[in-house]
C-alpha cells in the first residue's frame, strides 16, 4: 500500500494522459465519421443518394416513342423493331428534355451500320453481315436500305 501511495503522482500523470488520449480519440471519431455511417452496413448511407444523382444521358426508347409515333409505325414488324432508338441515334436525354434546343444528328454514311453488320468471324453465323468490297461500292448504306425497317428499297422500286 505504501509503495502504491509513493507512486501516486506518477500514476496520476499516466491516468491523465490516458484520459486525454481517449477523449481525443472520441472527439476525432465524432468529427470524422459521418452521423449516419453504419445505418445499412459499413458505409455512409448518403452514398446511395450520391450514386442516384448522376445525370441521365440516354432517355430510353419509351420516351422517344411518346413523340415519334411515325417512326414506331415505320419500324413495326421490321428487323430493327426491337432495337433501342439511341443505339444508333446516340444519347438523347437532352433532346427529350428540350426538343427545340437540342437537335440530334442523323446517323448517315456507313459507320453506324457497319458497327453491327461488318463481317467478322467472331459474330454469330446467323447474323446478317457484309464484306464491304464484295457487297457494294463505297456508297452510303441508306441509298439502298431503310434503316428503320431494313428492306432493300431500290430493288422494290
Amino acid at each position: 500500500m505504501s509503495r502504491f501511495l509513493k507512486n501516486k503522482e506518477h500514476l496520476g500523470r499516466m491516468a491523465g494522459l490516458f484520459a486525454l488520449g481517449i477523449t481525443a480519440f472520441f472527439v476525432a471519431r465524432h468529427l470524422l465519421v459521418p452521423p449516419q455511417f453504419g445505418l445499412f452496413g459499413h458505409y455512409r448511407p448518403g452514398a446511395l443518394a450520391d450514386n442516384m444523382a448522376s445525370p441521365v444521358q440516354y432517355a430510353g426508347r419509351v420516351v422517344c416513342e411518346d413523340c415519334h409515333a411515325d417512326v414506331v409505325e415505320a419500324r413495326k414488324g421490321g428487323k430493327h423493331a426491337r432495337i433501342g432508338c439511341e443505339a444508333c441515334h446516340g444519347p438523347l436525354a437532352a433532346h427529350a428534355a428540350s426538343p427545340g434546343d437540342v437537335v440530334p444528328k442523323r446517323p448517315g454514311g456507313r459507320e453506324s451500320c457497319l458497327h453491327c453488320h461488318l463481317f467478322n468471324v467472331a459474330r454469330p453465323k446467323t447474323f446478317p453481315q457484309v464484306r464491304v468490297p464484295e457487297h457494294s461500292d463505297a456508297g452510303p448504306c441508306l441509298a439502298c436500305h431503310k434503316a428503320h425497317a431494313p428492306v432493300i428499297s431500290s430493288l422494290t422500286q
Partner: protein, 254 residues
C-alpha cells in the same frame, strides 16, 4: 415522510418509461432518415444481369453508351464494361487467344480467318455485382459497399484511392479514375435503375444480348432466362457469388 410502496413503484415506472423513450428519440435523432429516393424502395429489388453470348455481335454499343452515360474517362482507355474476343482451338480450352482492342470501343478489326477450324466469339464483361464481393471486404474505409438492392457501389467522397479493391476484384472490373484519383466501376447505372430505366448498355444493345434483371421481381423475364438456359457465372471457384449470368459461356472464358 416515508415513501410508500405505491409511490416507489409509480416513480420507478415513470423513470423507466421516460428514459426508454428519451433513448429511443435520441437514437432516431442521431440516425436520421436514410437518404433514398421517395418512390424507390431499395429493399424491394435485387439487381442482376443476364447475358446471352450467342447474341453478342461485338458491335461495341454497350462500351460507347457506358462511357457516354457514366462519364468514363475516354483517354487513357478505362472501362466499366468492355467486350472481349475469344479465339479458341476447339480441343484446347486452356489456351484461348483473347483480345479486346480499346475494349471494343471502335469494334474489332478482322484478325482471324473464317473456317480455320477455330472457335470465335465475343464475351461482354462488366462488374458481376457479387453477393460476396472481395472488393467490399478489403475496403478499409467503407467506401465500396453492397447496396441493399444488390449493387456494388462506390462512395467517391469517401474513397482514399488505396487500390486494395482494384487488386481484390477477380474480374478486373475496377480502375482508378485519373481525374479524381478515386476508384470507379460499373454501378449498374444505379441512377437509371432507381428511376425505372434500364442500364445504358442494355438500352443500346441491338440484339438483346444483355438484359438487366430484378431477381426480387417474380414477373421479371430474368427468371425465365435462368430457368430455360444453361447459365453460368464467371469464376465460380472464387466463391464470389456473381449476379451476372451468362448463357453459352464457353469453358475457355476466364
Amino acid at each position: 415522510m416515508a415513501t410508500t410502496r405505491r409511490d416507489f413503484l409509480h416513480h420507478t415506472g415513470r423513470l423507466l418509461v421516460l428514459t426508454a423513450s428519451a433513448a429511443g428519440a435520441w437514437e432516431a435523432l442521431v440516425a436520421g432518415r436514410p437518404e433514398t429516393a421517395e418512390t424507390y424502395r431499395t429493399a424491394a429489388h435485387w439487381w442482376g444481369m443476364a447475358i446471352d453470348i450467342g447474341k453478342c455481335i461485338g458491335c461495341g454499343n454497350c462500351v460507347r453508351a457506358c462511357k457516354e452515360e457514366n462519364d468514363v474517362p475516354r483517354e487513357p482507355l478505362y472501362f466499366r464494361t468492355w467486350v472481349e474476343r475469344y479465339h479458341v482451338a476447339p480441343d484446347d480450352l486452356e489456351h484461348p487467344i483473347v483480345d479486346s482492342p480499346d475494349g471494343g470501343y471502335d469494334g474489332f478489326p478482322e484478325k482471324y480467318k473464317a473456317n480455320d477450324g477455330s472457335k470465335n466469339f465475343f464475351v461482354p464483361k462488366l462488374c458481376s455485382h457479387c453477393t460476396a464481393s472481395p472488393c467490399v471486404q478489403v475496403c478499409p474505409v467503407g467506401a465500396t459497399f453492397d447496396s441493399p438492392d444488390g449493387v456494388v457501389l462506390v462512395d467517391k467522397t469517401y474513397c482514399l484511392g488505396c487500390r486494395y479493391c482494384v487488386q481484390a476484384c477477380p474480374y478486373g472490373c475496377r480502375f482508378i479514375d485519373p481525374r479524381t484519383r478515386t476508384v470507379d466501376k460499373c454501378s449498374l447505372c444505379y441512377h437509371r435503375i432507381t428511376k425505372g430505366l434500364t442500364t445504358a448498355c442494355c438500352e443500346t444493345c441491338p440484339t438483346g444480348a444483355r438484359q438487366l434483371g430484378d431477381l426480387k421481381n417474380p414477373t421479371d423475364p430474368i427468371h425465365a432466362f435462368l430457368r430455360d438456359h444453361q447459365v453460368h457465372v464467371l469464376k465460380p471457384q472464387m466463391a464470389t457469388h456473381p449476379k451476372v449470368y451468362y448463357n453459352g459461356l464457353d469453358g475457355s472464358v476466364r
